[in-house]
Amino acid sequence: MSNKISCSHCHLEFSEDVMIKEDEHYFCCNGCQGVFHLLSDEGLDGFYDKLGNNKLAPPSEQFEDASNFDSPAFYERFVSTNKDGFSEVSLIIEGIHCAACVWLNEKALSGMDGVVATNINYTNNKAKIIWADDSVKLSKIIDMIRAIGYNAYPYDASLQEVKADKERKEYYTRIAVAVFATMNMMTIMVAQYAGYFTGISGNIRHILNIGEWVLATPVLFYSGWPFIRGMYFGIKTHTVNMDTLVATGAILTYIYSIYITLTRSGEAYFDSATMIVTFVLIGKFLEVLSKKGIADTLDVMNHYLPDDVKVIQEKKIVTKNVNDVVVGDIIIVNSGEKVAIDGEIVEGNGSFDESSLTGENEPVFKTVGENIISGAVSIDADIKYKTTKDFANSTMSNIVDLLENAMNNKPKIQQLANQLSEYFSTIILFLSFVTLVGWYIYSSNFEQSFMISIAVIVIACPCALALATPVATLVGLSIASKRGILFKEAAQLETMAHANILLLDKTGTITKGRPEVVKENIILPFRQSLLYSLLLNSKHPIAKGIANYIFSEDLEPLELQSFKNIPSQGISAMFDGKMLAGGNAKLMQTIGISVQSQSDNSEFYFAYDGQLLAKYELFDIPRDDAKEAIEKIRKLGIEIIMLTGDHEQSAKKVAKLVGIEKYASQLTPQDKATYIEKLHQSEKITVMAGDGVNDILALANSDIAIAMGNGSDIAIEVSDVVLLNDTFSSLSDSFKISQRTFTMIKENLVLSFIYNAITIPLAMAGYIIPLIAAISMSVSSLVVVGNSMRIKFGYNSNPS
């Protein structure tokens, strides 16, 4: 083996003989060499010091023309003008690996005439660029990014993302204030409570009360503003909700405490007002924390399709924007390119990867007269095809539209605590009013009656009720995340606990998503390097499966000549003047070897010099823990259905292997979504687990969408729950955790009602002495918190 040397630009290591040598520098490709020279010429070679030992991806060749970035349509959609009259665009920069990449892009762009600001976020690779449009065109800026080895595509930052960001920031600041005040309040409360037992002078208590008042004010009016606003809208629309209860409770407690402080006549409850606002605010924050940005998802989705295509016009090839293509245009697709518009092949043939539509990794062979669908990727086909639809009506555009629709109309199941709080709040407000009237009639003392009626609300101040859900979900979320289950929204734990149907995608979710060798039959001993070298030349999943299976350190790649890919049959090549062939039974027959095929697995035969040497059988086997986990989920009372784009026979086989009784096969992405829609009509709550682009519509339509951790970006984006460790047992864990959390929520609610049932009558009767009130309020909250912690213990003692 020759020495490995690292490329002077990307730092990837290759053997010396394949490198381009130039003075003391080595390059792995022309792209790296070009970027290296450009950086030295521009005086940007400080990049390499900053890069350190980090490795880069070699720059991909960019044939795309940047001029469409200057089109009026592009400007209208993505470019805005700021108050100084400069243009602004938001881009996602591809290829950023480390902080040095950020430095290089910022440095190179700020060096350009007319660029006045660049800001690249390392965490999400999003960049904001501000420039003077009359000094430099956007296409030149894009060209620069591409020249230094990166690529950029625009995204629309103006919509949900900015809004969601603002909302999140607002919550951060509100919570920062609330947490600060509550923590300080607690230290003062320690002194207050200690004073009950050890004695405290009236003056000191008064000072402490004033300190609490100062701390409670910003919490109530700044941090608690969302609740006050919620109450206002509630009153306007004549509805009573959790916000009404929290806001009235906190405000009345606050006013009551001010009165007490000023008249020095009893115990103030500023702490209770601040704590309820703080805890409920944190609970609310969990809900907005990672609300999916629909716009973001669609940006990623749109990137799945090319912006422009090569069209033949008057015998010349011109690049056209996809929206300008009309039905009947002839489009050229070369190997490696993506199909943007549906059509029918008029010239050429080859294999296509339609996994984004069917979920199946097996390439599909297409020839003249056959339809090709947008979203498919040409593996080795160079074809010309005639469009049968325009871009907006093509399959993939339809999916994007349906996806947008589904995400906007996602069903929301109301949380139990919210449902109850509506009744609870109404009843408490009513009881308080009854108390006021009753006491006034009884004692004719308005001040006393008023104070007692306020005390009813203060006592009922729904700390326990409001805490019931957030604390339980918080514990649930943390247990889940320790097991690699990421719930994007807290409320989804509760929704998932209600679910009664689990829908599973087959390929990549139940199965491993790649065929593996299940049977090997060596007919005649042979040199494995021969087979290995032949397989290395193919991208077919079956070839990869066998290559993985036979791989060992001693295999060395041999030089093969005249390699040929025979569509839908296999591969062949020459070695030492003799023919090597690997493929299915049909290929063997073509080269004159008769074989008998009767297995329902995929078969691969290997022949050398006209002699059959070996036979392999491959099958996309289910994940190791699938059967066991499916059984566990079924025991939780959940019906399991498998949905697949694959044919009936293979669906049946996998379903049988993992013990699923119900399945539907040969479904398109739209069919899967319709299937879920039907289940919704019969009032079922569905959980869908999938991994691929073909599942996104179904994921977006189901109540809870679960993506496998190694699934496609878009599937992860659309889903509510991500299984980071990509195992089936975490799927059953997520059901268990959500059900357990929901049980806890119910228990917490019962506890808080018991507390209220005891204290409210006492308060109405005017029997609440301050000490009992203070202790019972704290105890009720502690009971709820303590009970929620049991999720953890209960779960750990019952490991899955």
Binding site: G46, K50, K83, D84, G85, F86, A99, A100, V102, W103, K107, S110, G114, V116, A117, N121, Y122, T123, A132, D134, S135, D165, K169, Y172, T173, A176, V177, F180, N184, I188, S201, N203, I204, I207, L208, I210, G211, V214, L215
Partner: protein, 72 residues
């Protein structure tokens, strides 16, 4: 300990604490926590040259603003 000492201590500690909170809130609003890597990278890379670049960029922006008429 007299009452006013307690009052003063309470007042001063709340005041100092609130300065910290105000600073935090200001930093959040200015977007200083948007990019979690930003701080560390700045420590690693920002040198004299980068400060000059930033100043030049400001100058360039001003120059472009003055040179052309830009409608609001």
């Amino acid at each position: 300990m007299s009452d006013w000492v307690i009052g003063m201590m309470l007042g001063v500690s709340i005041f100092l604490g609130s300065i910290a909170v105000v600073a935090l809130v200001w930093a959040i609003k200015k977007g200083q926590f948007d990019d979690s890597e930003h701080f560390l990278n700045a420590v690693k890379f920002d040198g004299e040259e980068d400060l000059n670049d930033a100043a030049n960029l400001e100058r360039k922006k001003e120059a472009l603003k003055k040179k052309d008429y830009r409608p609001e």
